[in-house]
């Protein structure tokens, strides 16, 4: 690791100026260098890399970002040459395992691993090795010549790079076999991608009607670091563009989308349950058109609904997993099955899924967690997590004597609801805002937080502020326990909160006191941007254990669980 740092420090100085330029375009997509695929993580390599200190990480991020840019730019130049050289280099494949090449596959695989599963990496390592060699060989002589010319072409090239970086790598099969396109919801600042999304929504017509799913437009000025994400306003709901007796989209889905965008259904579990409830209604009202198969047609019917819901509020990881499950179940319906039978089977599946993955899982988690709660404990919770609340109710019912400190933060102030529920149950609580959490931590014996998703590299995505609490708790040596059901485990990999996040309505940050609103005309002030983040990412070294229904596992075992789950299915 250290070797690379020294070797490429030369690149750093030159490219830092470039990165500053393109940082405004949010090119942090490439700072996922340490995002290793599952197999490598399992082998334990990740543990070392993750433990590097802050400055190293930053430098490596910039280095690999620059490398990524270089790769794309060089790809465009080298495409023709490489077709010739591939034949020659097939022989060199075997002796290509250089020790310092190990960092290159992470960076090469970086964009690919964003949506890719771990299994793919091993299969394509051969191809990656071959391209590794070429890149190394060709990059060195070119560095010196390029350095001088780059200064002049800087502006031109950065735009080109940005454009090329946004587009899918061409041709992926030859160089980077596992590279997939970046998801559209993190490329909002690229107009081409937005146009593509609009076209995709148009194409996704429901078969019976020729109307398209409306495209929700962004609202307000977006802070430059997050300009690649969507930002919608609550006052402009998507239902404005959908006709009133909504015949294009099933009314249950319109209702659900409205409830999501207004925040009436909030929280990972609640959203998944509501989604499955709406799907049940869709399935009940579904009739197979003639000459079509239920298995294929129903899945196609669900696609525009899912895009609609995505426009109302970006889908959560748990919802994504639930959708995958349903689609799989629908596709697995045998052809000879009659419609009624198939429908009742599907409804049954949905009920089973909810019972197993949410209700029973919550019970199992509670049982395990209660083992960790002892009398006299002071437990700190953040925000309103349905699972953590459930655990506390169960612990209280079993007779444990503890008290709870509820930490809350603006603008959502979800802690008020958690406080109300806990106090109603009889638990004695203290309520503080997140700004004073370090004052209260000496009293706390453990921290219990809920998660929105657990990522494949062990990072945890949760409500914004959780990573802060985990950090402070770590500084005070207070154990942090994360409660998460396994259906929220996600194959995505992220190390920072910028790449993929959700931007809530910036107007929610505005406060009116005594009739005066200071930020009433914030849009007119050119130099002011309001940022209302929803999620943040906590690294695994701040988390001591994850309590799932399979037991208490360390953060790094998430990919193992995912692999076991996929084997089961």
């Amino acid at each position: 690791m250290r070797l690379h740092f020294c070797k490429d420090q030369l690149l750093l100085t030159r490219l830092q100026s470039e990165t500053r330029e393109s940082a405004s375009r949010g090119r942090n997509t490439f700072c996922v260098p340490l995002a290793l695929t599952g197999s490598e993580a399992a082998s334990g390599m990740m543990a070392d890399k993750v433990e590097t200190d802050e400055s190293d990480k930053k430098a490596e991020i910039e280095r690999s970002k620059s490398e990524g840019k270089e790769l794309t730019k060089e790809e465009k130049q080298r495409l023709r040459k490489e077709k010739k050289q591939q034949k020659k280099n097939k022989e060199k494949k075997d002796d290509a395992t250089k020790p310092d090449g190990s960092s290159v596959p992470p960076s090469q695989k970086a964009p690919s691993s964003v949506p890719a599963a771990g299994a793919d990496a091993t299969a394509t390592s051969d191809k990656a090795v071959k391209s590794k060699v070429e890149l190394k060989a060709e990059r060195r002589p070119r560095h010196d010549s390029d350095r001088s010319s780059k200064q002049g072409k800087k502006r031109e090239s950065s735009q080109q790079q940005a454009a090329s970086a946004a587009k899918p790598k061409v041709p992926p099969s030859e160089l980077q076999p596992v590279v997939k396109r970046l998801p559209e919801h993190v490329q909002v600042d690229d107009p081409d991608v937005v146009k593509k999304l609009a076209k995709k929504l148009e194409r996704q017509q429901t078969p019976a009607h020729a109307e398209k799913i409306p495209l929700r437009s962004d609202y307000g000025y977006k802070v430059s670091l997050f300009s690649h994400l969507h930002q919608y306003s609550r006052k402009a709901p998507l239902t404005q563009q959908v006709g009133i007796p909504s015949s294009v989209i099933h009314p249950a889905i319109v209702r659900l989308g409205l409830q999501y965008s207004q925040g009436i259904v909030a929280g990972s579990n609640a959203r998944s349950v509501a989604l499955l409830h709406a799907f049940k209604q869709v399935i009940r009202d579904y009739t197979t058109p003639p000459n079509e198969e239920l298995a294929r047609d129903l899945v196609n019917r669900l696609k525009p609904y899912i895009s609609f819901l995505n426009q109302c509020r970006p889908l959560s990881a748990s919802m994504g997993n639930a959708i995958k499950y349903i689609k799989k179940e629908i596709s697995n319906i045998p052809n000879h099955c009659k419609e009624d039978e198939a429908k009742s089977k599907l409804l049954n599946c949905i009920d089973c899924y909810i019972d197993e993955k949410i209700v029973l899982a919550a019970k199992a988690v509670a049982e395990i967690a209660i083992g960790k709660i002892s009398d006299g404990d002071v437990i700190l919770v953040y925000g309103c997590s349905s699972l953590v609340n459930h655990i506390l109710y169960e612990a209280f019912n079993m007779g444990r004597k503890f008290r709870v400190i509820v930490v809350d933060s603006r603008p959502r102030l979800e802690g008020r609801e958690a406080l109300r529920r806990l106090v109603q149950h009889g638990i004695s609580c203290t309520y503080i805002l997140i700004s004073v959490v370090s004052y209260i931590l000496p009293e706390v014996s453990k921290v219990l937080v809920g998660a929105h998703a657990l990522l494949a590299n062990g990072y945890m995505m949760s409500r914004v502020g959780t990573s802060q609490i985990a950090l402070v708790a770590k500084a005070f040596n207070v154990p942090v326990l994360v409660c998460c059901e396994t259906y929220k485990f996600c194959e995505r990999v992220q190390t920072d909160s910028f790449v993929s996040n959700e931007l809530d309505d910036p107007d929610n940050l505005i406060v009116t006191r005594k009739g005066k609103t200071q930020l009433a005309h914030w849009q007119e002030v050119r130099s002011l941007g309001l940022l209302n983040l929803v999620y943040d990412v906590t690294p695994p070294d701040f988390v001591d254990a994850v309590i799932t229904e399979l037991g208490m596992i360390p953060c790094t075992s998430v990919p193992v669980v995912l692999r076991v789950k996929s084997v089961d299915q």
Binding site: V265, A270, I354
Partner: protein, 455 residues
Amino acid sequence: MELQAVMMAAGGGSRMTDLTYNTPKAMLPVGNRPLIWYPLNLLERVGFEEVIVITTKEVQKMMSTDLKLKMDVKMKLDFVCIPEDEDMGTADALRHIQPKIKTDILVLSCDVITDVALHEVVDLFRAHDATLAMLMSKAHEFTETVPGQKGKKKAAEQRDFVGVDQSGKRVLFMANEVDLEDGLSIRKSILNKHPRMLIKTGLVDAHLYCMKKAVVDFLTDNKSISSVRGELVPYLVRKQFSKARSSPKPKDDTDEQSQTKSDNSPNNELLISSRDDRLLQLAQERSCWNDHHGDMSEAYHGGKLRCYVHIMDQGLCYRVNTIAAYIEANRLVPKLLFEEPAVHPSAVISERCQMGSDSMIGALCHIADKTSIKRSTIGSSTTVKEKVRVTNSIIMHGVTVEEGCNIQGSVICSNAVIGRGSDLKYCLVGCGQRIEDAAERTNEVIVGTDQLMEI
């Protein structure tokens, strides 16, 4: 299907008999279109494809022959005729069409002219799973002089008191001044749940309601309710806060005791009974949202029945049920219909006619020379001869205005004839009336003798 639209067009226009004794209210021309065109247009713009129209046979006949309606309205109109002699209230009409109702309904009255964004009302209905969602608007003072009104306008009696919660969306209280004899009393339980209530009086009810299907089913069992606005809506608003008990028990409030028996069975019906109540319940439990803060109760205080209102503060919303409203609507409607030219292409207007920009001329009119038409609406097939001055007036179809007339601030109904040289100020001339030559009338209602007999 999500919503079925129901249009109530059987009303008699009891507050403007002078205008409606010959023409049914639904077909009164406003801006040279029948009144019913406006709500139908609203529904069509929003995306409805069919409407159930409850009306009388006469109106149905007129509607099927009316050109404008046939051309402009592309929706499928399902006419349900109710016999004219029976005195059917709006709720009775809903009961009558109960077999046709398969989903939640959107009830409209034929006399509402508005440019509201309908999704605002329907979104409240959808998002909060409300039993009732309605539309109200801030009332505007009518500035025009009403023909035939002698003396000053009486102080607004029969005000409506509407109590809304802090967010301005939930209806907590609704009563008419007539029903409140010795003052406005609000139950303590309501105040406990909603400590801040805003009581508004200057609101116009647009008579646009989004209702659950369960309400229509409830109406079939409760034959005592006959009017939607007068009885059903206040009943539902009150029912939000009644204690839902499964077994009939004497309630604490004295005014509820007499209705205990009848209350309990409808209570069960009005409650939401979807097949997946368990899942909805689970989702609501797990969701960290509450509609109010500060007390220990869950979202919506655990109530299943909710009534919401959307109060428009900008935009047009008129209910044309009085003569003053009718005149005001005619004045403001040209602003709504910007896609239509003010002058119909088939009208014949001579060059020496002075026409103001805010006037509307209907089809097949003949306007002769030296006439001056300002701020007026002239219906189709009307003949206006020379040297006529028409200001601030409404002239309906088939009217003949002879030379030298001066019409100011008046309403001339269809097929009337105004004699030569007459001077009419703030008059209302009924259908088919003939004003003699050189008549001078001010502030009068001129109707036929048969009309007078009806009173």
